[in-house]
Symmetry: D2
Subunit: 432 residues, 4 copies
């Protein structure tokens, strides 16, 4: 009967990969022997499991090996990856290898090539000495596409300590619940951000309009000034309400310094959008003195990278909003991977958005820690379904959470924002 030895390495208990592999085998109806099981004596030690698997026939064995490979259990016998030529543009050949967001290698001419830019639900294209993921829509006729089979292997995540110090990550991989010590979670995320910056890595923020509505706009500005926002991805609504708050002191028509509705307030965002469109771009509106502060202004002034992606519900949209979805995805990938060879972001925080959060998660390699913050459990749960232990959900108030981060990471900047608000308030009272 056909037999094969698979090897599983890394953080295989914590990451649940060993149990999943055993479960798959049993589920499949195959039999197996444990040849080696050496687990690390400490949490961060690497563990190894080697299992000999037997099935009734060779076809079954290949099918099973393909399944196990998804969990990082790689077969001992090796063969080159099957390669097929793309026969149409914009689609893969049937039977293509569908990628995960884990580190992946593909065997070509007897050598294992590391696949560049691991990302879920893509294909892999081989060209020259290299291999990289490619989204379906970018396939060109004639490209060499990797097919599913033994010539691909996946490397399970190793210990989280690789990315940053253990302590900062202690709260990760825990259950999502609103009943956690909250000030502590703020401390831990702040600590993680500090370490990521100290390691010279970039931080990507993905934000929804709740950031502005909950009054956290000035806190995001404080964090930009303090250097904790390198890249920023959001939709038209975030920019529109941010600019509204700068022009009118309101968000969705609600006075941010009083909490009450403004006269004609529901028109504010549309008038704000109109004014910026009249200028033609964020930069032009800043130059014209139309945008005098707020998140957008800070992003531009501090040279942060940003993408504002459109959606079907947008008013306007604002001039810098990208309305074609494929172009948005391209630009998000650029935010993630940066400009140089080793410029991958070190940390991603998603606040108050499901749509843009999932969009980012889709493109993110599993090695980047991801924290999702939302007041709605369903949103956090959906985002967490990516399932890697490097992602964490925090159910809390976005406004108070960001305020807490700003107080910890940029206390001087927060003080400055608060003084400016007092001045603004005084001004607005003389106006009203």
């Amino acid at each position: 009967m056909p037999t094969e030895v698979v090897t599983l390495r890394g953080h295989i208990i914590d990451s649940m990969s060993l149990p999943r592999v055993l479960d798959e085998i049993v589920d499949f109806g195959a039999t197996y022997q444990v040849i080696e099981l050496s687990l690390g004596k400490k949490h961060d030690d690497e563990s190894i499991a080697r299992l000999e698997i037997t099935t009734d026939d060779k076809v079954d064995l290949d099918r099973l090996l393909d399944r196990l490979q998804q969990h990082g259990a790689n077969a001992g016998s090796v063969e080159d990856a099957a390669i097929a030529e793309a026969d149409v543009a914009g689609a893969f050949p049937p039977g293509f290898y569908s990628s995960t967001n884990l580190e992946t290698e593909v065997r070509v001419h007897g050598k294992w090539l590391t696949v560049d830019r691991p990302e879920m639900d893509c294909g892999i294209v081989v060209s020259g000495d290299g291999a990289r993921t490619i989204p379906m829509g970018e396939v060109e006729k004639g490209m060499s596409i990797v097919m599913a089979g033994l010539g691909v292997r996946v490397i399970p995540l190793t210990s989280p300590t690789d990315a940053a110090g253990r302590k900062a990550f202690e709260f990760m991989s825990s259950d999502v619940s609103s009943e956690k010590p909250k000030a502590l979670l703020v401390d831990q995320v702040a600590g993680m951000m500090r370490e990521v910056k100290e390691a010279g890595k970039r931080i990507l923020w993905v934000a929804g309009p709740a950031v502005v509505h909950t009054g956290a706009g000035p806190d995001v500005c404080a964090l930009i000034r303090a250097g904790y926002v390198d890249a920023f991805f959001a939709g038209n609504g975030v920019a529109a309400h941010d600019i509204e708050s700068n022009m009118f002191g309101t968000s969705l028509g609600v006075h941010l310094d009083r909490g009450s509705a403004a006269e004609h307030g529901h028109e504010h965002h549309i008038r704000a959008i109109n004014e910026v469109r009249r200028c033609g771009s964020f930069e032009a509106a800043i130059d014209a003195g139309v945008i005098t502060g707020g998140i957008v202004r800070h992003l531009v002034d501090h040279g942060a990278d940003y993408v504002f992606g459109g959606s079907v519900r947008d008013d306007g949209p604002l001039p810098d909003v990208v309305t074609d979805m494929l172009e948005v995805q391209k630009q998000v990938r650029a935010l993630i991977w940066g400009k140089g060879d080793d410029d991958l972001i070190g940390f991603c925080i998603v606040v108050g958005t499901m749509l843009h959060g999932i969009a980012t998660g889709n493109c993110l390699p599993a090695s980047v820690p991801l924290v999702c913050v939302d007041i709605n459990q369903a949103t956090v749960t959906k985002l967490m379904d990516r399932g890697s232990w490097q992602s964490t959900g925090i159910i809390t108030d976005v406004g108070l959470f960001i305020r807490g981060l700003a107080e910890r990471l940029g206390p001087n900047e927060v003080r400055r924002a608060s003084e400016e608000a007092d001045v603004r308030r005084a001004g607005s009272q003389t106006r009203t």
Copy 2:
């Protein structure tokens, strides 16, 4: 002191417009006399209120009249609308009139013109003898844009009986709560759909992927066959999972007839998208035998109008998905207003989607009844913030709700779907 009489007509108590007007006046610090207050003796009778308003100076009076007009309280003194020429393309002149979704009239050369296609957050363009709303992005240089002021008036909604029989609407305008008699709500929505169809009007469905995940795909198909789906707006996900369920019997990798996860199931949707992309279009995929059933197939076969709008989180997307957001909005307006002069949809149902629901609500005139169904209270509340009493939120399970609609509106079609499922299940068991 400057004085003006405003008149308020229609369903002014139920719709809260009178209380809101009084509140605005008091808030503003103006004084007033009730000159006439005649309320209908029955719920459906028209009511009239006439108030004489006095302020300290003329500027204040104009500002207040402008505010009151938003609630349908129109000033007695009339003047022509101020018109400004659009000085740049893609934006309004400052001070433009920002439209509501209520029936609106604009006074030009002493005559009140009815504004075509009332829609929120647009401007109004006058050309020839007509006036119509125009989205900011479609403004061309030189167009005649209506400015805010007394030359515009808004007609409050009259009784809901105008649209369809009172009974069907009885449940409307009630609070959003998950603790309502649910089978009754299904009855009432089914009754409303029946009346709308009997009145020769079209029904627009706006759907999220939960429709497929909760197993309601075959029920939507039954409703298409029974003639209750004239227009359909959704995202890439709905089509992708619908086609996945047709090809693999799964949705997001979960067997719809067993509830358990399929082998390699998480790849199913991407493989489904790939196959359809290889064909080039839904129609081509149907002709090629790649799509043999499901919602997409039904929409094509029954000649329903449909729009699938892209989003930043899409995989693929499928070939018929529109990836430019401005184009999607144009097509949604076409779904709503139809092909002829009097082809406006008679009813809109939003199921399991916030994004596409809000997008639709943005374009919908207030006269079209709207029902939003979602299991998440936050989603329903956000959608309901449009605030007109013609919209209703129902917090319930999308899957069981649509099943209930299908059983009431197309019992024979449901039976047929169930028999087909048995056959399919039998077939899939012999395969597995």
Copy 3:
């Protein structure tokens, strides 16, 4: 045809009582004339409406007057209240007047008596020169119970400024939404608490276990020390987890200073309960050095009034927990009304609990401002269904919200708590 004039006074637009009254009349099929409608020129002015109502027969008129009276529209013709003798203990005579939580008067021997302790869903008992509400279960045979009819009248709430300065209440009566400026809401609730204390009134806290789980226990202690907790109502769980956190540093087994699960942590609460039961009471456990800090300890040390009420889900329960529900309700009423004649609490804050929040709301007169804070919109909505504008819902993180209150109201106390935590943490690290 029978006719009657009803008068409506107070804050009748904002509180929606006028629109509701008009709606009831129209609904009922009666006709009416507006005899007088004088609305305040400013928000805080009293308004008056007088309506002449006509129905087909006298029975209908009485029924309608009874309905209108619930909204504070009192009839001009007066008659003594009908009184019936309680014929069984523990229940009212059929046709009894069911009370609201608004100020109420009952006419006996030609004089209007103010009903003591207004509370919802009770009856009214008359004895000697007085009248007071009485819960169904406390009725004794032979008591004089007030029947529904014209002899009872309800006084609508007057302006909120009566209770405390307008500013503090500005955020009230607004919609419940998670998308509000949050730091501002913290400011406003803190401001309100400060004013209530300055006015010499007491503050009642009603709390759920999330207060402890989210790490806000030390902040509640800081607020007790700062004098902002006069009365406290909670369940067994709050006390159990508070004592657990004092004994073990965990809440539900999770280390509050690290966020990770403790060894055998799920047993901590049961062991904490056991230890206190071994002592016999909170005070004995404090004397024995078993409870050295935390909320319970602070309540006892600072002489706050407290009630811990049992529920069917309790472990233990702790010795001071009242397990009979009727006794709990009696004690909650005592917390609310205090010890003297004019000792009614001035403010009630409900944090992280639906069960105890509703229990309190049931007993609370409408004149007491109530703020409910929870992360779950459904909880807040249910609590807000009491419907008076003096109650406000805030959807936010309980832990971060209370932290914010403590920082604003007792900064020195917060600093002290934080220093103590550092010492404790240092100690626990040497132990572990």
Copy 4:
């Protein structure tokens, strides 16, 4: 160095007990060898793991063995359980063994005794030849209480097929999500109920007021008539609104057959409670013709066991409601364990209640399958935190779900209910 072999048996992969054990050991800093690892070849086969564990000293080893035992990993070396005499009534001696809800054995005089009535968070008392769990509050001075240590062992759950056929349980152990095929879940729960009844076991329902508010009262009655409700646990609210719906056709004042609010409807429940209190008991109210139908009437008429437990928020309460919490818990245990020796319920369904659901879960042995149904994800998640794979959460609409169960399990009974409703509606229309 001290060494011990622990054995783990049963469903050790699926139930996650092996990974948890390995994780605990590594966490603890101990070392180990896998001596035997034989996993079942099919899902339902028993698996065995034997691990040799080594720690630095004996105290650590005992501590670790105690931890592992909680996951069902029992030490090879055996010793009698330590027994301590209860020194005070109503509390355990410090160091007592805190029980789980899994099958448990305790070693006394060299023999392993099975602990009767496994239940979480209790102690174990030994008397004569037997051992049983005992709640803290029932401890009497002098009882022999089992202490934590090696003399106790826990038997992990074996395959779910032991309880009923595999198929019915297929959907269990899956993630909680609102996006599941819903009609299928109804089918599966109905199938499970049918099997449980065929096996001669009892079904326990735990219900919240949403059952009545959502209009599912008649469906619960149909299920009682069809024989699917043997025991019933709820609060005062369920009975009050059920009787209200019987007396007035409303639930919380909302007409169940129209969905609109009734005149004076908010008083209905208090008047219903008053009428039943005037009778003195449910049975007396039935005899007096006060309760002519509904859930309470059905429970009494069909001889079902029921407990209505009070809470701090109750109006009234109704005469049969138990107001002392310790007495309620006693009665719930009696519902669970039944009257004879082998009368343990075979299935428990919790619908629309967190409070009573958790109360029941606290007393339930892990061997009883538990399904929780609620529209609110937070409720389901909290209930599921019991964590055994025999419990399943379903996020759906309680009203439509129960309607679906009734249609599948008692179609004739549903038809009868619907005909009765038509008659009632006709009658109520002639009345109005």
